[in-house]
Structure formats: C-alpha cells, structure tokens
C-alpha cells in the first residue's frame, strides 16, 4: 500500500514537471505559420494556446497509461483499495469535471470570440468590383488570385486591372485576396501569410491578411488539380516596401501595355468557358 502510494506520487510529480517544462518549451517556441502577417500571427497564437492546453492533458494521459501498465504491475492494488480510490471520492471527481469544463469551455469561448472578431468575415468582400479603388494604405488593397491549370496569375484592380505572373505585395497594408479559378478547383496557399483558400470556378473567395515582414515567399496550389499540380508553386512571391511596390507596379504596367486591351474587364468571377473547348 505504501509502495503504491509512493509510486503514484512519483508519477504525479513527474507529470507535473513534464507538464510545466513542456508548456514552458512550447511557450518559448515559434509556432507555424509564423509572424509574417497579422493573420499568420493570429493563427500562431491560436496554435500556441491550443498546444499549451493540450500538452498537460496529453502528458496526463501518458501518466495514466504508465500507471495502468507499470505501477499496477509493480504495486497492484487490492480490490478494496482500488474501489475506494475512485468510488465516492468527491475530490477526484470534482477536480476531474472542473478541469475538463475549464479546458473545453475556454476553447469554446476563445473560438467563438475569434470567429466573431474575424475580418471581414465569412469570405465576404468589403469592396465592390467597381474600378478603381484608391491606392490608400488605410484601405484594403484588393488583389485577385486567378488559378488555372497550372499557374496562378494576379490582378490588381487598384492599378488599372493589370495582370501579373508574380505576386508582389506592399508591407503593412491590409490585402484583400479575391480568389477564383478559370477551370477546376484549386487552392491558393500562401503559407507564410496564413492564407489558404479554395479557388473555385465562378466563385469569389475572400481572405484578408496584412503582411508585416518584407521577404520572398512561396505560394502553391493545395488542391490536387491535374498533371502539374505538384509544380503549381512559385517561390518568388514577395512582400516589399511601399516604394518598391509602387516601382514594381509601374514596371508591370509597362510590361502589360501590349496586352491590356485584350484582358477581360476586371470582375470577381469570370464567365464559364464553353464546355466543348479546344480544337
């Protein structure tokens, strides 16, 4: 009996040390997807919060398993003691229910508040498709992501509806991505910004994020979409300073000049192609 009580105490102390040490380690560790945008930071914080709450529970499960498989063999309980340990033990039952309630309700409240505060909410655009939008840092910059087998192109309605094969964004400005597809379903995944949304034909899927770190990033398709799906990625997406962005826009405007008159008028979605195409 004394041996068993000592073993259980040792397991509890070990669990406590593991739980605290693990949570300290998690609190100090970077979490995906990082801090390259406000959206990514929010996601990282959520990941960290969930990890901090999950680790003590997970390690408690491991400790319970250890008790079951090891302690019970080394110092087996008698039937009477085993029953007395749980049945009618109000302290254990109250603690168990209280801890579970706190964990689950905390996550529920946090998730509800985070959803309610999400901007702009539910994939709904805050800007109209009318052109042009002012290039004002206080306004979200609309960037359209057009997926097609197998490349993303981007349109900037604020800047005359130019289209580019490279994604370049100004740092510190809220970006409103409008994501659509011209053929099959793709998924636009800008991991570092925490942006991942399906690109669906005839649909306008909206996600906002504010890039906070200048750098070069990777974007890729995250929906199996055909032969070159694995190559539908680009490691030259950039977040640049406002002045560099302005210079880049001017450069792209010049490059697009020969094709501007042929581009379709900017729209959040584009008409369905004829089912029988090709020839």
């Amino acid at each position: 009996m004394r041996n068993r009580a000592s073993a259980l105490r040792a397991v509890f102390v070990t669990w406590l040390i593991l739980a605290i040490a693990g949570d300290v380690g998690l609190a100090l560790s970077p979490m995906p997807p990082g801090e390259a945008s406000t959206l990514a930071s929010d996601e990282s914080f959520t990941m960290k919060l969930l990890a901090l709450m999950a680790w003590p529970v997970f390690s408690a499960v491991l400790a319970a398993l250890f008790c079951t498989f090891v302690v019970n063999r080394m110092a087996p309980p008698t039937a009477e003691v085993s029953a007395a340990e749980l049945r009618g033990n109000n302290r254990i039952q109250t603690t168990w229910i209280a801890v579970t309630l706190v964990v689950v309700l905390s996550i529920a409240v946090y998730g509800t508040v985070a959803l309610a505060m999400d901007q702009p909410g539910g994939g709904v655009s805050t800007v109209s498709a009318a052109l042009p939008q002012p290039a004002d840092a206080s306004q979200p910059l609309e960037v359209q992501v057009i997926a097609q087998q197998w490349w993303f192109t981007y349109r900037y309605p604020t800047y005359g509806g130019i289209e580019t094969a490279q994604l370049v964004l100004p740092v510190g400005q809220k970006i409103e991505f409008h994501i659509t597809s011209l053929d099959v379903t793709h998924s636009f995944w800008f991991y570092a910004l925490g942006v991942k949304a399906d690109a669906v034909p005839l649909n306008d899927n909206v996600v906002t994020a504010t890039p906070t770190q200048i750098g070069t990033y990777r974007v890729q398709c995250a929906e199996l979409c055909g032969l070159w799906h694995g190559n539908m990625a680009d490691s030259t997406a950039m977040v640049v300073s406002t002045s560099d962005f302005t210079a880049w826009v001017q450069q792209q405007t010049t490059a697009d000049a020969p094709v501007m008159k042929y581009l379709e008028p900017y729209s959040h979605t584009y008409l369905e192609p004829p089912a029988i195409y090709g020839g």
Binding site: L182, N231, V259, Y277
Partner: protein, 211 residues
C-alpha cells in the same frame, strides 16, 4: 519436396525481378528527347542553340511522335527538350494547328523572351489578339517566366499551312529540370478542353532539361 521448394523460390525471384524491372521502367521512362543543336553564334558570352518544334492538330500515325493517341494535338517531334546550361535557346515553332482561344487573355502576352517579343512569319510582335485569329497553343515555361502565344492558322487554310514563330530565351547557368506546357485549353472533345493531351506528357506538356 526440396525440389518443389527450390522451384517456388526460383519462381518468386524471377517474378520479383520482372515486377521490379517493369516498375522501374514505369517510374523512370526514357522518352525520346531532342537535344538542342549548337550554333557558332555567341551572344553576351552565352552560346546560342537551336530547337525546332511543330504543333499539329493530331499527332498522326505517320508523325515522328508516334504517340499512343494519334487524334490528340501535340508538339512534334517530342516535348522532352535538352539544352546546355547558361545558353540562349533560339526556338522555332512551326504552328500548324488552328486557333482554339485563350481561357485567360493574359497569355496573349509574350513574356520572358529576349526583348519580350517574338516573330510571327518574320513580323515582330509583343502580344497577339486572342480573338483574331487567336492562339492555337502557348509555349510556356512558368518557372522561367517564359510564355509565348502561338498564332493559329486560319480555319480555311490549306493543309500544311504554317505560322513560323521564333523567339529566344535564356536558361539558367545551373542545371535543372523545368516543366513546360500549353495554356490554351486545346484538347478537343474533353471537358473545357483541359483533358487528354493537356494532361499528358508528350503532347501539350513536357520537360526542359537544362544542363
């Protein structure tokens, strides 16, 4: 009894070797590849090499490609290209297919070539009108930023009518493998023109081996 055991083991070994052989062949196909032909020309210290391709409405049994799908559009003689690293590739594409229309008019723009232009039957162009008559195909290497629309021949053009498209592009100094493809949904008879040859290496998709 022992003889049967040896026979069984031998059969297993032979079967394993055969399965391994076919799996290896399947995973590592050896497609016909065209190697760029060298020229004596050097521009900005980079050697210029030539590659010539022909697009046709159907590969055909008599075509050099001799593909498994003779009624598919394709690039001939193959879509597997090999060029030296750090070279300037002088491409000549004999466009013999008609126009299909672009899904995204942005691909009417010539991008990533030397001078950001091409010649069509000797005429220098930076973009084409996607509706008149429009491209039959594009030659696009996304990771190198190269995209060239290939003007389709007229619907009533005589057999063998050809638009000769030429352009130059620079490949990296480091060896690498790049995919290239057509961005015109040109696969007749498939949903939205994106099936069959658009999804199959050797027709409207290929690989560019640099170095």
């Amino acid at each position: 009894m022992r003889m049967r055991l040896w026979l069984l083991l031998g059969s297993l070994v032979v079967t394993g070797v055969l399965v391994g052989f076919f799996v290896t062949r399947f995973l590592n196909p050896v497609p016909p590849t065209i190697v760029a032909t060298s020229t004596s020309q050097v521009t900005n210290g980079k050697p210029v090499v030539n590659i010539t391709l022909t697009t046709v409405a159907a590969v055909g049994n008599d075509g050099e490609g001799k593909g498994e799908h003779p009624n598919w559009v394709g690039y001939l003689p193959t879509t597997y290209l090999h060029v030296p690293a750090g070279s300037i590739v002088h491409m000549t594409i004999n466009q013999q297919d008609g126009s299909s229309g672009l899904r995204n008019p942005y691909f009417a723009l010539v991008r990533g070539t030397v001078g950001n232009d091409m010649t069509v039957n000797g005429k220098v162009m930076q973009a084409i009108d996607p509706g008149n008559p429009g491209p039959g195909h594009t030659f696009t290497i996304p990771d190198l930023g190269v995209s060239v629309p290939l003007v389709g021949v007229a619907d009533d053009a005589p057999a063998g009518a050809t638009n000769v498209v030429t352009f130059d592009f620079v490949v990296p100094n480091q060896p690498g493998l790049y995919r290239w493809q057509c961005f015109v949904p040109c696969a007749a008879g498939t949903l939205y023109g994106n099936g069959g040859p658009m999804q199959t290496l050797g027709y409207m998709a290929g690989e560019l081996q640099v170095g």
